[in-house]
């Protein structure tokens, strides 16, 4: 960006004004497109989130966001910077089923982001969905492509924590089969869940005292 204003024919003021005008026009254009696409984008995001939550918490049809704010967990619609959230899942009758907890951590290649369903009453993981990963195609990406692996996260005990073992050697309720050839990725998923779980377990209210579903948050959008 060499503006090279040596041959100072136009005045500095004109230069500044040109830039300001360009900025003004561009700002208007951008705000225009932003405002017009915002509803769709927000709706897309919410739908995605809802689908993911429903997937990791089987039998859930309604959800509500909880935010860890001021050292307590409160039901809130908005999410400020540096705040963390979990999603409570409720069945058709509004009965609490479990939490969908997002977690992230280093994987084989890059950060893995995931969401898992968790029921505090039974200390079970109900389901797991990978939201974001750059794991090796064909190997590491089995953490979300391999139905067996994803399926093994249903009714999985997380007491005291999940352990990934070599394929075909599961014997305990808290053990799952690691993917052959993608042990690192499998273990990364397990580690992220364990870590997120241990982070949140202190913050969640004692089992049975979950806040009820607010009526206005019915569809979670």
């Amino acid at each position: 960006m060499n503006t090279g204003a040596n041959a100072a024919a136009p005045s500095s003021l004109r230069l500044i004004l040109t830039l300001a005008i360009a900025g003004l026009i561009s700002g208007i254009a951008i705000i225009g497109i932003y405002e017009s696409t915002l509803p769709t984008i927000t709706a897309n995001k919410a739908r995605e989130l809802r689908e993911a939550v429903f997937k990791v918490l089987p039998g859930v049809s309604q959800m509500q966001q909880f935010v860890w704010r001021g050292d307590q967990l409160i039901a809130a619609e908005d999410l400020q910077k540096d705040e963390e959230a979990v999603y409570g899942g409720y069945d058709e009758n509004g009965e609490f089923v479990g939490y969908a907890i997002p977690g992230a951590g280093p994987g084989f290649q890059d950060t893995i982001g995931l969401l898992f369903g968790f029921t505090p009453e039974q200390q079970l993981v109900l389901g797991m969905e990978v939201l974001e990963s750059r794991e090796t195609p064909g190997l590491g990406d089995k953490i979300y492509k391999d139905a067996d692996f994803v399926g093994s996260f249903s009714k999985l005990s997380i007491d005291p924590e999940i352990v990934a073992v070599k394929k075909g050697t599961t014997s305990q309720p808290n053990e799952i089969d690691a993917i052959t050839g993608a042990t690192i990725s499998s273990k990364a998923v397990v580690r992220i869940i364990n870590k997120t779980h241990s982070d949140w377990i202190q913050r969640l209210p004692p089992p049975g005292s979950e806040p009820p579903l607010r009526q206005d948050a019915g569809d979670g959008s």
């Binding site: 060499n2 503006t3 900025g23 561009s26 932003y34 280093p106 084989f108 290649q109 690192i184 273990k187």
Partner: protein, 192 residues
């Protein structure tokens, strides 16, 4: 492993900006013909990346929180202007330093690695210190890749590379091989 260390190693080796994210390819392929130039370019890039990290953090914290949709345009304008300002400053204050790395600064500013750094750092929600470490890792990683390629290219100048493949095609293939070798770093320090 400590989070900061992981950020650093990840940007440096595992997710090397050039070799796995394909960022900053233009200087990577263009300026890597001599070792000395590429070392200086690497240095200058690392410097600009640090400046970028600071700018990005300031923008994210104070401006973009009100207007997230201006992210891209703010990044590019602010970073470019800041670097240009610094370039002029260096030129005035230390002609020697300017000759050593300053002449590369305008070249780097509009480089996608710089913008990429700002965007990635924002996407991952890095704080100030994390951002600096990330920039440092990315910059040194860029320098490392650049210097390795320059060394290989200088050496291959002495080889009988067939005329058909000489030039960009060969550079790309060398880059591909380097990228293949860097795959060995995958997962480094992530499991510990």
């Amino acid at each position: 492993m400590d989070n900061l260390t992981w950020i650093f190693i990840s940007a440096l080796l595992v997710n090397n900006f050039v070799l796995t994210y394909f960022l900053g390819l233009c200087p990577f392929l263009g300026v890597s013909n001599s070792l000395e130039t590429s070392a200086r370019l690497g240095l200058a890039t690392t410097f600009v990346m640090l400046v970028t990290a600071v700018c990005a953090w300031v923008l994210n914290t104070y401006v973009l929180i009100h207007a997230p949709y201006l992210r891209l345009i703010c990044f590019i304008v602010v970073i470019a202007s800041t670097v240009q300002f610094i370039e002029m400053l260096i030129r005035k204050l230390s002609p020697a330093l300017f000759r050593a790395m300053g002449i590369f600064l305008p070249l780097i500013t509009t480089n996608c690695a710089i913008l990429g750094l700002a965007i990635f750092a924002t996407n991952r929600g890095y704080g100030f210190v994390e951002g600096i470490v990330y920039a440092l890792g990315a910059g040194i990683g860029f320098t490392l890749a650049l210097v390795l390629l320059a060394g290989l290219r200088e050496e291959s100048e002495l080889s009988d590379i067939p005329a058909l493949i000489k030039g960009t095609a060969m550079n790309l293939i060398i880059a591909g091989i380097l990228s293949m070798a860097f795959m060995g770093f995958a997962g480094l320090f992530s499991s510990a």
